[in-house]
């Protein structure tokens, strides 16, 4: 949908007014919305951004009780793209792949909050090597083994155990 005001940019701000049960709607782009005032004379608040919201959760400056150490802690900065951690908490976007290594542990609580996990278990690109694939295979076999033992299916468990040994041998070679 294009902005009803300028007809140029996509409408990203949608205003629904209900006055005495009369509903009226207005679809504007962000630029035109800046000029809009409601019946209270207030402008539109900037769009709510989910990444920014999540990143904001990590902004220790605004957080609780980290008090005293503030201001003394050195600002961490990515040595590849130059982005700082506080820039990340502003935009919710990382600058490059290296940022993940530089900000490492500080990202984990955020990742856990978004995904409930901090560890990738999905697809591995072919070039990242067979080793990683084998490691993953051992992990999933171990999980299977545990389950079989819990179910007291010892014969099947023994088979899985042998498979694990085989894969581990391949890993060492």
């Amino acid at each position: 949908m294009l902005c009803e005001e300028c007809q140029l940019r996509p409408a990203t701000v949608h205003i629904t007014k209900i006055i005495n049960n009369l509903k009226s709607e207005l679809n504007l782009c962000e630029e035109c919305a800046k000029g809009y005032k409601d019946e209270w004379g207030l402008g539109i608040q900037p769009a709510f951004s989910i990444p920014k919201f999540f990143a904001g959760l990590l902004d220790e400056e605004a957080g609780f009780g980290t008090g005293i150490s503030q201001g003394y802690r050195q600002e961490s900065k990515c040595d590849r793209c130059g982005q700082t951690y506080s820039e990340f908490t502003q935009t919710g976007r990382l600058g490059c792949n290296r940022c993940y290594a530089i900000f490492g542990k500080r990202l984990d609580p955020l990742l856990r909050r978004i995904h409930g996990s901090i560890r990738h278990t999905g697809k591995v690109p072919g070039r990242a090597g067979g080793k990683l694939r084998l490691k993953r295979e051992v992990e999933s076999l171990r999980a299977e083994l545990e389950q079989l033992v819990a179910q007291e299916e010892f014969e099947k468990a023994a088979e899985v155990r042998d498979k694990i040994r085989e894969v581990e041998k391949k890993l060492r070679s």
């Binding site: 996509p10 793209c81 976007r93 999905g122």
Partner: protein, 356 residues
Amino acid sequence: MDNDDLFAGTKCKWIEGSGPYADIVITSRVRLARNLEAFPFPQALTEVQQKEVVRAIAQTLDSSAVKNKFGKFRLIVLNELTAIERQILVEKHLISPEHAELKGYRAVALDKEEMISLMINEEDHLRIQVLLPALQIHESWRKANEIDDLLEKNLNFCFSETKGYLTSCPTNVGTGLRASVMLHLPGLVITKQANRILSALSQVGLTVRGLYGEGTEAAGNMFQISNQITLGRTEEEILQNLSSVIKQIVDQERSARELLLKEARSKLEDRVYRAFGALAHARIISSQEAISLLSEVRLGIDLKIIKNIDARILNELLVTIQPAYMQKLEGRKMSPSDRDKKRASIIREKLNVKFL
């Protein structure tokens, strides 16, 4: 690009509208986010670097391995299009609204069927999107995965052993996979069950949005359901979770429709025919009114209350009554009231109402 079918045609794969559960599921989309190791993420790049990213990806698409499997991709530089042309690609769901709006050098590569679109320099260097009609989410993934495999033979994607595929926004890290299914749920809306069912989805790691993705309202009883979690689950787990939830919602929608037919058939028929009547006769119609009336006609077709109308026509109309598409067709800028008139005439023509 005046006679270009991309901006004037409706041959987009998803518009065909056939496949499993096509009476309720409109589209299945898979999107993979990937970044090239050689460059910082797109928003940190200069325009020259952004061009290099486009070139690197375009070169790989030109390789015989890709061409043999998926045919020739057409590369479109978004900067070279008008705002209206970019908006048409959004209306056809071939690029995201953000991709149309972003600054800098960005492009999209499309296959012949307009089923696969590779967005370049969106939030990430590469977004591989496969969009199919009906419930074919596993099929979409299979295709996207295949393209990903072919591309990674030439391109080094950012990948970490523990965090998986690295993306500009941490909400996509891990698999980089976003799978979305667009559902038409008039039965659940009429019987007032939609909110209750859909609000429970966040508990299983899924989110609901409107027709045009992030931040849009649900128009015409269309709901887009997608996975929220991309890290810590395998692609198969993510897709399995989504499709099993979708199948349950489809079942609920089916029983809501049956209930309506059984308990309130004449009321339902009245509603469907009134909607059809309004669409068939209106001379001025807003996009919002059209989309909500088309939803009722779609329901009427699915329940065989209305016969002799191909459901495909409704998918086409979802695109052809959009502002940018109409303005391109007319070859001029149109005021909202001009558009409302044009829209009404496009609908009358499409529904082939000859008896008037």
